[in-house]
Each structure stands twice: as structure tokens, then as C-alpha cells.
Symmetry: C3
Subunit: 267 residues, 3 copies
């Protein structure tokens, strides 16, 4: 179901069309996710003011909502932007960072799932579980639950809301209704760089901007993340150089690199 040719076609569309991706995201990763979007070929914009988010979303090809450093005015802006995205019929990608860690995050994430109409939700196992469990247990923004453990939760959310759910982990699991895709690309250095999960979400936004099938857009993004991570790791001597090489890899990534590395399994 996921092929080298389809991934490559999306990348070419991103690089030639440079779709504008509107991000309402956390302070920690604004710079690095903007750079990842530029490196893959998209056009990032970060804007969070209640007074302008609807207008900005109206210019964009996808909206990315990330609750990593949440506060009240930002929550209001996220709902306004989500409404604008719905009216414009552009995809919304949600990253429920730290859902399960605090009530504010869990409740906001659940409300965004219920009322924000995301096309794709991208989180780690803990965060996806927290979207449905009575009591999630998240240790900060790290994942303690492997992606597999969250598979049932993802199915439940996908069926209830009609969205794709992309669970990152050593093996990423992407779910839509009855479909499940597993992406085995990636490298153990990736969790040692802050915000690579958020970068996965931002890139998911770029793929969703050019691919109308949420399950595929999400899987393509995770495959590209993992492949770029493997390419970066070969030239890195620690998390600092890894982060730099990762951006370079997104920029130089070609069809051959995808063909020789892709490890995807559909079920």
C-alpha cells in the first residue's frame, strides 16, 4: 500500500509547490520544525494571535496544532484556526504533546480531537492512550508505552472521529479505521533530540497538504522521518550533529535513498 513511488511523488509535490503550513506550536520546537519544513521543501508560518489565526489559516494548505507549551490564549487560537481550516477544507494535524501528564493537556487534547476535526493525530503511545483512557500516565513528553500498546486506542479514536492516528515509536504504527501500516525506519538517536516528534507532526502536515489520503500522508511522513534519521545517524557523533545532519538529509533525500531504506508493512 505504501510504495517508494508514492512517497517520492509527494516529496516532489512538496518541493515544487512549497505548500504553506500554518503551525500553532510550542516555543521549544518552533525554530526546528520550521527548518524541517523548509528542508523538505514546504513553506512554514508560525502565527498564534487570536486576531490573525483565521486569516493565516485561510492562506495555508494545512494546519498543524501542537499543544507542547500550552496556555489559554493559545488554546482559543487553536480552536479558531481549526474552524477556519474546516471551512477551507484543508487538513488539520494534531500533536497532543504531553497528553496524560496534566489535566490541562489531556482535556485540551481531547477537546481538540472532538471539536477540532483533525484529519491526522500524531503522538507517541502514552499520548494516544491518554486521549481515551480514564487516566493516562505520561512521563513528561517521553513515551513509556510502545506504539503497539496504543493500537487499540488509536483504532477507537479513528473509528469515532474518522481520522488517521499516527503513533511514533521504534516501529511507528499508523491506523485508519481497519487499516494499519507499520514503519520500521528510524534510529535510537532520534528521541535524544528535542522535538523530533513535533517535527514528525509538522512533516505530516506537509504531506497532508499534498496527499488527500490521511493514512498515506501520515505513513509517508513517518517513513521520511525515519529514513532521514538513518541518514543523519550515519554522519553524526552525538545529538548535536544528528540534529544538523537530519535537516541536511531532508534536503538531499532522493528516490534512491527511499528505495534502498524503506521498511514498511501494511496489514
Amino acid at each position: 500500500m505504501i510504495t517508494v513511488g508514492d512517497i517520492w511523488r509527494d516529496i516532489v509535490k512538496i518541493r515544487t509547490g512549497a505548500p504553506l503550513i500554518h503551525n500553532i506550536t510550542n516555543y521549544v520546537v518552533m525554530n526546528t520544525t520550521a527548518n524541517a519544513l523548509l528542508s523538505i521543501g514546504a513553506s512554514p508560518v508560525m502565527a498564534h494571535a487570536v486576531d490573525e489565526v483565521e486569516e493565516m489559516t485561510g492562506l495555508a494548505s494545512a494546519l498543524v496544532l501542537n499543544i507542547g507549551t500550552l496556555s489559554e490564549p493559545w488554546i482559543e487560537a487553536m480552536f479558531k484556526a481549526a474552524g477556519a481550516a474546516r471551512r477551507k477544507k484543508i487538513p488539520v494535524v494534531l500533536d497532543p504533546v504531553g497528553a496524560g501528564a496534566t489535566g490541562l493537556r489531556t482535556e485540551t487534547a481531547r477537546r481538540l480531537v472532538a471539536e477540532g476535526c483533525p484529519s491526522i493525530i500524531r503522538g507517541n503511545g502514552s499520548e494516544i492512550l491518554a486521549l481515551v483512557e480514564a487516566k493516562g500516565e505520561t512521563k513528561g513528553v517521553d513515551s513509556r508505552h510502545a506504539a503497539e500498546a496504543a493500537l487499540e486506542a488509536a483504532r477507537e479514536i479513528s473509528r469515532a472521529r474518522g481520522c488517521a492516528v499516527s503513533i511514533s515509536g521504534p516501529v511507528d504504527v499508523i491506523v485508519k479505521g481497519g487499516d494499519v501500516i507499520r514503519v520500521a525506519n528510524g534510529h535510537p538517536m532520534m528521541p535524544r533530540v528535542t522535538g523530533l516528534g513535533c517535527t514528525a507532526t509538522a512533516l505530516t502536515g506537509a504531506f497532508a497538504a499534498v496527499n488527500p489520503v490521511p493514512l498515506r500522508a501520515a505513513a509517508h511522513a513517518m517513513a521520511v522521518m525515519g529514513i532521514a534519521g538513518e541518514m543523519a545517524a550515519e554522519k553524526a557523533s552525538g545529538p548535536g550533529s544528528f540534529q544538523m545532519r537530519f535537516l541536511d538529509a531532508l534536503f538531499v533525500l532522493d528516490e534512491d535513498a527511499i528505495a534502498s531504506r524503506l521498511r514498511v508493512e501494511s496489514a
Copy 2:
């Protein structure tokens, strides 16, 4: 009009005096513009609270205002800081990031031009056009208008407000009254790194802190940006390594590098 010796003299002044540059800027670039200022030899400070901006501007040698991630309290702080800069007679450099994209940005940028008394405005063609046009068209924070297309708008603003206008693009165009300087230095990788336009604005602040002639300060900053960009590109294998090498280049930049690379044209 723009000479190697004059650029180098400014750099030496920055490196020996380490002027304090007060930045009220966007979340995306705070880290990278602070690092660029440190690499060239200036002392950056970021402070945005309404309660302290006037005091902080009172300590500074230049004020940089950047509307990249705007919201109401920040707008108020920008006007307060601009007032303090005016009273202290230090230069104000304005970056109207995304003017034309949303009403909030366009209006705020225009008000800052009218009431903030900037010595220098630094933006891309779209943003400069949006400062005068009835209806600007900006695609996010990218430039769709070449710098040349904004030349007349820049002249109009310069004449009305008495400030220099610095338009970045493949060839940068710097305007003050009837004077026009073109800087042809730079590299196509530069727009692939987020916030290098904002970095140009921050460095313009550093040059304005040591050079009382706004047209020259702005042109010197753009020449140094472009030259450092060329130096970085020679050692980069993508946007990640480019960003790192760019900071290194600002740090090691010497008079010989400027002499061998400078491509400036006055009219």
C-alpha cells in the same frame, strides 16, 4: 560609496564595543538571531515585558523590532520600547515580518512605520510593498516579489518617513531618499534556513549601533550577511550544516574575505 574599509571598520567597532542590541522579536528566531549577534561580536538581549522594555531599551545601543509572532501585549511593548529609543536617540530597526499576510501584521507594521520612527526598515519585497499598497499579497513570510519590484514603495516610505529601507532578495536593494545601493552577495541556500531574514534585521541593528548613517549601516549588514552566506555554503551539505557554518563565518569573517567577495553597486 560602500567600501571594504568602511564595512571592516564597523565590524571592528562591533567586536571591540560589543554594543547591546535590544530585540523584541519572534519566538522562532530568538535563539538564532541572538547567536548571530554574538557571532559578529554584539551583545544581544531579548526582553518583551511591558514592565521592563523601556528600561532595557535605555541600556541598549540599538532597538530591533520584529513582528514575526505578534500578539497584543508584544505590540504594546514595541511602541513603549520605540518611545524609549527615540528619547535616548538610538536607532530603531523594524522587520515587518509577514506584512500583507494578515490584517494584524499589515496594520501593526504600518503603525510602527508611522509612529515607531524606525531608522531602518528591513524586509523582503512583499513585506515592503504591503507597507504602502492597498492590498499586499504575502505568501506567509516568503517573498514573491523580487526586491526590485518594491523599489518604488521603498522610495516612497523613505521619503515620507526619512528612514532607510533595506529590501532583501537575490540582489538586496537598500534605499534612502534618492540613494540606492545594491548588494549582490548571498546564496540560494539562505531562504532554506528559517529566520535568516530576521538575522539580517538583527545584524542591521548591530551595524546601526556603530554607524550613524542608516543607509550605510543597512548596506554593510546586508553585505556581511551575503558574504557569510557564501562562506557557509562552501562548507555546507544542506540547510542544517549551512546554519551552523553561517554562525562560524560571522565569527571568523576578516577584511580579506570581505575584499575578495564584496559585490556592491551604488546608484
Copy 3:
């Protein structure tokens, strides 16, 4: 008093336990301090909303408060988080960034010292002096006072509040009651990278999370900062590559590197 074995034991504890460090810190350094914490082996979380900070601190092993880009809601959050830390009996590390530069910073820093019950205060000489002097003089966030000049102020604060005070400079001075430790590791490139002082504070939080003796935790953190800085400088060609190599160094740091480089003096 400070031994290679003790430093190494702390690092092993951090790497195996991955303690959660809750940071309420400034926008400029959120990304880089999170990356430094990940590189040394800790788990960073950044959260500042008044509605969730107590809950987040309740999950953490240490709380880091940094006033680098202060505003009212953040101040309120800091006091709430400090209260939660006190109830949970986890260490609070305070970085009074820019104390002395503006009234808002000086007053907030002094209130946090008085009411926030920090275990460790980490600042440069100017900032530590501003905590006690009638009128501090800070040039932005740089240090004009060598660490030694602030030694008496540090003693006074330490005695009055029972905390350790860690003053960074070419030679770091760490004080607790009558004890003084000097750490001579480090490199002149370090002040050319924004936020390495804030990184020192964040790492101090990681060491405080695994070492119950504040004086030692603070000294261990400064030794590791300085040693990683020396390792980075050997492979760097400017501040850009230094910053990258510094994160790599935190990641690869081993007992041999500490043994061959540590330069500490107790009194």
C-alpha cells in the same frame, strides 16, 4: 571534595534514571537547554501555564526557574511551581538572568530567592551581585563582574537562605555557607553561544535531581559544562559548530574524559 568518581556516579544516575526536569525558562533557550538535558541523559519538560505547572512539577525530580524573558503570567507560574516543588521536596534551581538590568528582573529574582526556596542559585557575577546590592549594574545578560567579585554576595545569600550559589565565569565559584569550590574548566568560546549560562542552570537541575547535596550537584554540573566546552572547542571552528559539538560532548562524555580534564579546587 569534588572527585572524578562522584561526578561520574551522578552522570550514570542521570543516564540510567532519566530524571524529569521541569523547566520554566526563557524563550531564547528552551530548545537548546532541552537538548542539553537530553544529551546528558535527563528528560526535559517545558511547561509554564498557571493551570498546569503545579501538576507538572509534581511529576518532576527537579524544577528549574529561569527569568530570561519574563512577563507577569510566567512570574505567577514560577511561584506556583516553586510551591509545588517545596511540597514535593524536590530541588529548585534558580537562574536570575539579567538581574540588575531592569527593576522587573531584579525584584522578581529577589522575590524568588526569598520566597521560592531555591536549593541552588546559578548566575554570573553581575546577577549574583544584583541579588544583594542596592543597585546592580548588568549589561544585558553578560557578566561584567568576575565570579570572584560576587563571592561575598554569594556567601551572604547562602547564609541567609541556606542555598548553594553557583557563580559562572572563567573560573566558576560555587559557595555554600563557609564552603567554596572553584572549577577552572571551560573555554572562551562559551560566552559566544547564547544561553550556555542557562544550559549550566538546566544541567544543575539534572545533577540536583540525583545528588542531594546542593554544593556538590552545582559543582558537578559546572565541571561537566566546562569539560564538555573544552571537548567541543577542540572540534569547533566558530560558535555555530561549537554549539553542535557541545551537545555531542555531553552525550559521549565518559569517566576518562572527566579524569583527564577536571580542574577543581576546594577551600
